[in-house]
């Protein structure tokens, strides 16, 4: 498997300084923030160092692509706050989210699940694209730090559904605090990005009380963390900007969706659950416009490896059941804008 480190060096080899910050537009969209640099990374969620980090406010959406998920239970998005501190290659992330009760890993129970959280890391590809949000893609691996309450943390990597594997090396350190209905957990570790100016990060949380594990989680969309002073490849930057923006007309997109009968296979807002394709009611919050664009244009460009999404149930063909729609570029943009409105 291709490790993140290798990918990084590939992506950043032709870095070049930029005068103006082209990512500003993404910050505006809520897709990017800058990490604060500190001399010592805190582990305690109460550490005053966290004051230095700007709060990143994100919504964690119920996973709705594969079952069992949370979306089919009617779960609502949850508001999370992330703060990111950096020290060289080391990163400390504090995640906060509301949770009414503590559930921890119990060695005396077989039916309980621990409150858990994970950070998923990826790097933009050459074109500035990001891997699929759900565990990456075959040639776009992601790295993960997993925290489960009462259990040793894990350092993992994945390159698509079902490919999660533990990785050797020092485990993420951290601390967890539950107070007044809120979890605050800190995860610190080394990111394999020595000089990286950019790191895509997403968070997932599992509520033990909802039997949270695997796909029964809420997750954020990708969020870019920039590191001050680092050089970035302009192609990557412009690609990212394209990934993060959509200019279409959502109203028209909605009409197009109706015309093409998307609700026959996908659940759309206000619609009934449909089993054939992924539930799209929260797609705009879960994905970047770039991913939505690719999916609409070329459904088989990345197939979520689930039987029922594949042609004739044949997963290995990699061919999506979704027909190729005869769409103009504008149609695509309008559909993406429509999808993006679903949050």
């Amino acid at each position: 498997m291709i490790r993140l480190a290798a990918l990084l060096s590939l992506a950043l080899c032709v870095g070049e300084a930029q005068a103006a910050d082209p990512l500003e537009v993404l910050r505006g969209e809520g897709y990017a923030s800058a990490a604060a640099v500190v001399k010592a990374l805190p582990i305690d969620p109460k550490d005053s160092a966290w004051e230095k980090a700007a709060p990143i406010s994100l919504l964690a959406y119920p996973q709705s692509t594969v079952k069992p998920g949370l979306a089919e239970d009617g779960a609502a998005p949850l508001k999370m706050e992330l703060r990111v501190l950096a020290k060289g290659r080391e990163l400390a992330v504090r995640l906060s989210w509301p949770d009414a009760a503590i559930e921890s890993w119990r060695t005396d129970r077989t039916d309980s699940f621990a409150d858990s959280a994970a950070l998923q890391f990826a790097l933009p590809g050459r074109e500035g694209t990001l891997p699929y949000i759900g565990m990456g893609e075959p040639d776009r691996p992601v790295d993960l730090w997993l925290w489960r309450n009462g259990r040793e943390t894990e350092k993992l990597s994945a390159h698509g559904f079902g490919t999660l594997e533990r990785q050797p090396g020092k485990l993420p350190d951290g601390d967890a605090l539950w107070e007044n209905g809120t979890w605050q957990i800190v995860l610190t570790g080394t990111i394999p990005n020595k000089a990286g100016p950019l790191l895509a990060l997403s968070a997932a949380i599992w509520n033990g009380g909802d039997a949270g594990r695997d796909g029964r989680k809420r997750h954020t969309a990708w969020h870019l963390i920039t590191f001050p002073g680092a050089r970035t490849n302009s192609k990557v930057l412009s690609g990212l900007v394209k990934e993060g923006t959509a200019s279409g007309n959502p109203e028209r997109g909605k009409n197009l969706a109706e015309e093409h009968g998307c609700s026959g296979c996908h659940r759309l807002p206000g619609g009934e659950p449909v089993e054939t394709g992924p539930d799209l009611t929260l797609a705009g919050g879960q994905h970047w416009p770039g991913y939505l664009r690719r999916s609409v244009k070329r459904p088989s460009s990345f197939l979520v490896p689930v039987d029922r999404f594949a042609e004739e149930g044949n997963l290995t063909s990699g061919k999506s059941l979704m027909p190729s729609l005869d769409l103009s570029d504008q149609d695509v943009e309008d559909l993406v804008a429509y999808l993006r409105s679903m949050k």
């Binding site: 890993w105 005396d108 129970r109 077989t110 079902g162 695997d214």
Partner: protein, 333 residues
């Protein structure tokens, strides 16, 4: 083509002694977070069994759709692996009674010999249960990690301990509730059909150590093996709860029982285990099987021979296991 190692358990020879249960335990489950698990256990039927109420816990197939299932609770449905206060109770003054440090609420054999019915027509029998190493395992289908697979050479269903992430969909999906979650390891574990023994030519601990000599082991396509003969030829061994749709590879010879008494205490002709109850476990074919067994016993009583009963009698313990025989097509196991 996957070959399938299979087992027939003769409920007329199971004496409920739990030697198999403990043989399995000392072979596999007395350590490493498995202490509460019984990969093999024997439960009294009728009863709630182990885990408690497993039959009502969902799982299995509805056509090609998995039915939802429930997760058993350790204390309430499996029962804690009780530990006892030996030191305190036996080597100190003012000692309390020897007892479990946490009171037991249920266990793998909690309703031993309780059964059903009313005296003098109460009834019970023993049902040993282990992973059925199904041909269509619901556990395997439910695993998003594809951590569960059937081995090509013997059809043994295994949970890849390196892939398993402890999601427990398999636990819910198994309608027999014979996959367990190991909360210490954070992984699902189950009966492995003793593959490390079988690979060395040693039968499964539960089968080899069955002092009732109730268990036959062979490949399903071994025409000389007891499985072929009892399942396909004599048709006296049936899967448990075939309606779950998983196509088990453990089969049972259903139990005969002595007759009930009428109101005057006179024995009737009616076996005390109601046929309907057995049908609920083994399906409608059970009537024919019991009739066949009775007919063969009648032949024996009339001084005739019965190859079927001779096979069930099993004159040689060692011949009950055929682990390395050639299959139908001559391919070695």
């Amino acid at each position: 083509m996957t070959r399938q190692l299979a087992m027939v358990i003769d409920l007329n020879k199971c004496i409920g002694c739990q030697t198999c249960t403990l043989a399995c335990k000392s072979q596999w489950t007395d350590r490493k977070g498995r202490e509460f698990m019984y990969w093999n256990h024997v439960e009294t039927r009728p009863g709630q069994g182990y885990p408690k109420g497993w039959e009502e816990a969902g799982g299995g197939w509805d056509g090609d759709v998995l039915k939802p299932g429930r997760l058993p609770r350790l204390r309430e449905d499996y029962g804690i692996p009780a530990s006892f206060n030996y030191e305190q109770a036996l080597f100190h003054e003012n000692a309390p009674a020897l007892k479990s440090e946490q009171p037991m609420q249920w266990g793998p054999n909690w309703d031993e010999d309780q059964g059903a019915g009313e005296y003098p027509n109460g009834y019970f029998f023993y049902l040993p249960r282990l992973c059925n190493h199904c041909t269509n395992p619901a556990c395997r289908a439910a695993c998003p990690r594809q951590a569960i697979y059937k081995r090509e050479e013997d059809g043994i269903v295994l949970v890849d301990q390196e892939r398993c992430r402890g999601y427990r969909y398999c636990v819910a999906a198994c309608p027999y509730k014979k996959i367990y979650f190991n909360p210490l390891a954070g992984k699902a574990e189950k009966c492995i059909f003793c593959y490390p023994r079988v690979e060395k030519g040693v039968p499964q601990a539960c089968a080899f150590q069955c002092v009732g000599r109730a268990r036959h082991v062979a490949f399903r396509d071994d025409r000389e093996g007891a499985i072929w003969k009892l399942v396909e030829e004599w048709k006296v061994a049936l899967p448990l709860k075939a309606g779950f749709g998983t196509q088990p590879n453990v089969f049972y010879v259903p139990p005969l029982s002595p007759p009930t008494f009428d109101a005057e205490g006179k024995p009737t002709q009616v076996p005390r285990i109601p046929d309907a109850y057995l049908e609920g476990l083994f399906g409608p074919a059970v009537h024919e099987v019991l009739a066949r067994l009775n007919a063969e016993i009648a032949r024996k009583q009339a001084g005739q021979t019965s190859p079927l009963l001779d096979m069930l009698i099993a004159f040689r313990h060692g011949n009950m296991f055929r682990l390395d025989r050639l299959g139908e097509k001559g391919n070695a196991a």
